[in-house]
Symmetry: C2
Subunit: 197 residues, 2 copies
Amino acid sequence: MPATQTRQRLVETARDLFYRQGYARTGVAQILKQAGVNSGSLYHYFGGKQDLLVAVLEHYRENLWPEVLDPVFDRTDEPIERIFGVLDGYRNMLLLTGCGGGCPIGNLALELADPDPRVRALLVENFENWRKAIGACIDQAAHRFPAEIDTDALSTFVLTAMEGGVMQARTHRSLAPFEASVAMLRDYFDRLLVRDR
Amino acid sequence: MPATQTRQRLVETARDLFYRQGYARTGVAQILKQAGVNSGSLYHYFGGKQDLLVAVLEHYRENLWPEVLDPVFDRTDEPIERIFGVLDGYRNMLLLTGCGGGCPIGNLALELADPDPRVRALLVENFENWRKAIGACIDQAAHRFPAEIDTDALSTFVLTAMEGGVMQARTHRSLAPFEASVAMLRDYFDRLLVRDR
DNA sequence: GTCTATATATTGATAGAC
DNA sequence: GTCTATCAATATATAGAC
């Protein structure tokens, strides 16, 4: 097979296993087996398991727009609907995984207590890119929010609501806590946007 | 030393290491070394590493009131201030750990992708006890909220805000995302409680 | 209940031929 | 770039004397 495909398959397999089992519980041997790749190839492309994690986090960063945001943003131009459309995407992910999946970045962020600087920087970058995309939607609708609202803090709060809701849904293996969280966030937005401004 | 102290020290040491390093990254040998206990004693009291985790989660359950809630509830009777007092306790925990700690239950909930049923039940129980304590505060102030507000969902949302804020604070190693999240939650409460009812 | 010594499996990573 | 074989370290758990 072409050289780049081996590397690519390693990254995709690692992403899949890290997501389903976590980083520590996934062994290099399991990645090799599932990817159909030999040990020598992995250590030809990567310095080790942690470099594979770095590649996975870079992959998530590269795929935020094409996989998470674009499909939602293509369906509507309305900035507030875009925000809740993104949240609905996470609801779908929970549905598809029987509430067992959650947010891959959030999972890694809490599993890795003291991550290598490169890893932590990529976790931060993934969070920040997500938050900035939401922040841009809020800014587009800035004239509809009360002037005293800190729109940067509000974008943080949207990420907070997503991650906190997903965490509870995953623990309960139920959509209910996620849906309750999004409903409360929606109520908050409704009250902020109580009339057109 | 007395028999019960050996068991107790194992649980406390495991709690400390699971909190600082995560469950998977903590080896039984490390727990034994730090606790000053021999292998034979651990397997006398516990079936294995996972049973130690169960004991740690039971410990957290037993200590929710004495360690997390009572110190706050003793300072004020006002139910809304109690809620934000609890959140301020997590801010303190973040401060004390250089934002590296976070919520021990949330950390384990996301690290353990597919936990043993006993473990998952205890994670749920820990979340539920916390949420119910917040819910009781909300119920005490129920007359001050708009009638259409789902107070059960609101207590879920408080836990969501805490966990999501803590996750970001831990990732950024900064209090700012946690404080922003709590500030937005406070703003939401202020708008809900816009006048005395 | 506690002790030391050890079993067995698995971990991440490497060597060196092709 | 890929292959097989294997290393050294560490993992959890156990055996059996005291």
